[in-house]
């Protein structure tokens, strides 16, 4: 029987769901190893149905306003704690024109120093680097700072009688640690990170224990589009059946679940190991089993996939993946539900961070605008594996930077099937950027349910862009 996808039955806006298909919650309720509360809950909200104006994607002046209003006020993922494991370790985080030395000063003391000498402004460390500092010495005239941000050296102090050494503390952005991630915020008046995230999502994040994972693959690529278009390409499963036809056979796309949490967090749950409602009646359970694509299939090896009588492809995949993954990565997954093993959980923390806490798609994404070109952005994907049971934490992967024309399949360690999916996702983007510039229609039209995360994201953009510019100012920062 084929599901009817075209005729919404509900009359209230945003209440219609894919007709003739089980909901995400109904699929998960049928699993053998049942899912925790954070999976088995819904938090959808209708947020309006007006078009989204397109000047935000195509006007260079809009990008400038974002740098002055949005990026200076929002909590951003800067690096993993594993990037700075020891005291004195630093990692340079850049967003737009801004640059920070994310520095471990103590076991639980991580600071984000503005990466600029207080003499004549030279960066104290080059962008894109990390290391361990005995001091932060400027390579120009040699003024230097201790790792706690206090001034160490002013060369020829006799010539600077007007400089108060006590005021030469390196200015800092705010820092919060969560799940092994280091987040920073330049705005001293921004809400606390926990309030920014809200209590419900914070509880989800705490349940995942992502501090017990490590980055085993990190791939970065420049994309030919505005950063917001790149983000929006990953906010819904509505595109799966056309953009990724090879995946739709084993993905509950049109019946995925969408949730919003406050102003800064949203998610979808997209079940895997089930047939797309678009394809009902066209494929068997064997087809689903054989088409299943995993982001981390390296852990599965060449295991033969067989469907015994009375079982579903979804259950076979859950059982098989549990066993193989435990063995391959020396981890214990006995307490992990089938849904967490298989399904795609995509969460976004505004403005530019995605976290996928599942086991089969264990990823984080980050998108950063190019400060010199509003039509370019940098996309990074990080795969996170559990730290082995013996507790020895592997070093996090060095980033692989792909060229503009390279395939994600070319990144060493990338699952080819998943690399192909990322190629499909990102190959649409230059067409969308150019199409928006060419179009006689000045707005994006969005689905009420399946594209609610796009609307939620853009509502947050609107909120920050309506504020006054706020650039970092040392004289307005609280002193340490």
């Amino acid at each position: 029987m084929s599901a009817e996808l075209k005729e919404p039955k509900s009359t209230r806006k945003g209440e219609a769901r894919c007709p003739g298909a089980p909901s995400t919650q109904e699929i998960i309720a049928g699993d053998k190893v049942s899912a925790p509360g954070w999976v088995r809950s819904e938090s959808y909200q209708f947020l309006g149905d007006e078009d989204i104006p397109t000047d935000r994607y195509i006007e260079p002046s809009y990008a400038k306003e974002e740098f002055d209003r949005l990026w200076t006020r929002t909590w951003q993922f800067a690096c993993r704690e594993e990037n700075i494991p020891q005291i004195g370790d630093y990692h340079v985080y850049d967003v737009g024109p801004y640059s920070f030395l994310i520095t471990r000063v103590g076991a639980n003391d991580v600071r984000a120093y503005y990466n600029a000498c207080l003499h004549r402004g030279t960066k104290l460390r080059a962008s894109g680097t990390e290391g361990r500092a005995s001091e932060f010495q400027c390579s120009f005239h040699g003024w230097s700072w201790n790792i706690d941000g206090t001034n160490k050296t002013v060369v020829c102090p006799w010539d600077f009688p007007h400089v108060d050494r006590q005021k030469l503390q390196l200015p800092e952005a705010r820092v919060e640690l969560l799940g092994g991630f280091v987040f920073i915020n330049m705005d001293p008046d921004a809400p606390a990170f926990a309030d920014y995230l809200g209590p419900e999502f914070k509880a989800h994040m705490d349940a995942w224990r992502l501090e017990d994972r490590y980055v085993y693959l990190h791939v970065a690529k420049r994309l030919p589009c505005n950063w917001k278009l790149a983000i929006e390409a990953f906010l819904e499963a509505y595109h799966v059946v056309r953009t990724h036809p090879q995946v739709a056979v084993s993905n509950g796309d049109a019946n995925s679940q969408y949730d919003v949490y406050g102003e800064h967090v949203d998610r979808f749950i997209s079940t895997l190991g089930v047939l797309s409602p678009h394809l009902y009646g066209k494929h068997t359970e064997e087809d689903i089993l054989n088409q299943f694509t995993l982001g981390d299939s390296g852990a599965l090896g060449d295991t033969k996939r067989t469907l015994s009588e009375g079982t579903t492809a979804r259950q076979v995949m859950a059982d098989m993946f549990r066993g193989m993954f435990e063995k391959a990565t020396n981890t214990d997954l006995s307490g992990v539900s089938d849904s967490e093993l298989l399904d795609c959980f995509s969460y976004t923390i505004f403005p530019n961070f995605f976290i996928f806490p599942g086991i089969s798609l264990p990823m984080a994404y980050r998108f950063r605008p190019d400060p010199r070109d509003h039509r370019k952005c940098l996309y990074e994907v990080m795969f996170l594996r559990p730290v082995p049971k013996d507790g020895k934490r592997p070093e996090p992967a060095e980033p692989t930077y792909l060229g503009d024309t390279q395939s994600f399949k070319e990144a060493a360690g990338m699952d080819p099937g998943f690399g192909a999916i990322l190629d499909q996702d990102t190959d649409n983007l230059f067409l969308q950027q150019e199409g928006l510039e060419a179009s006689a229609k000045r707005g994006l039209t969005l689905g009420n349910y399946q594209e609610v995360r796009v609307r939620h994201f853009e509502k947050a953009v609107d909120k920050y862009l309506a504020m006054e510019p706020k650039k970092p100012d040392r004289d307005k920062l609280p002193s340490r």
Binding site: G88, T129, E130, G131, R132, A133, Q137, S139
Partner: protein
């Protein structure tokens, strides 16, 4: 190629590094990425010593200005360094790490 004894293998366990003078050169012996490397201990940018810097995933970072060098080739990976550092042939004989300082592969001048 003239090899000289530098350190006992046990003195440089995995993930560790140690500086030693060999035939008048300050050499940094590094155990990273499951192999041994021998490179100059002196940064090509401002002649600072590299031995207190961070070593990770096949590179060493200068602790003062942050230049990083590829341990296998000596290549400068980021500013403020441009020039490579010297790298030396290294081998293990009878529990000793031996280095051929007279046979620099990079930056021999």
């Amino acid at each position: 190629m003239q090899f000289a004894r530098a350190l006992r293998v046990s003195e440089v366990p995995p993930g560790e590094k140690k500086a030693v003078d060999v035939s008048g050169a300050s050499v940094l012996i590094c155990n990273s990425n499951e192999r041994l490397y021998a490179v100059s201990n002196i940064c090509s940018h401002a002649q600072e010593r590299l031995e207190c810097g961070r070593m990770s995933r096949g590179w060493i970072a200068c602790p003062v200005h942050g230049a990083r060098f590829d341990l296998a080739t000596g290549r400068a990976m980021n500013p403020p360094a441009k020039e490579p550092i010297a790298t030396y042939e290294v081998r293990v004989v009878d529990d000793w790490i031996e280095v051929a300082v007279g046979d620099q592969r990079v930056n021999a001048s």
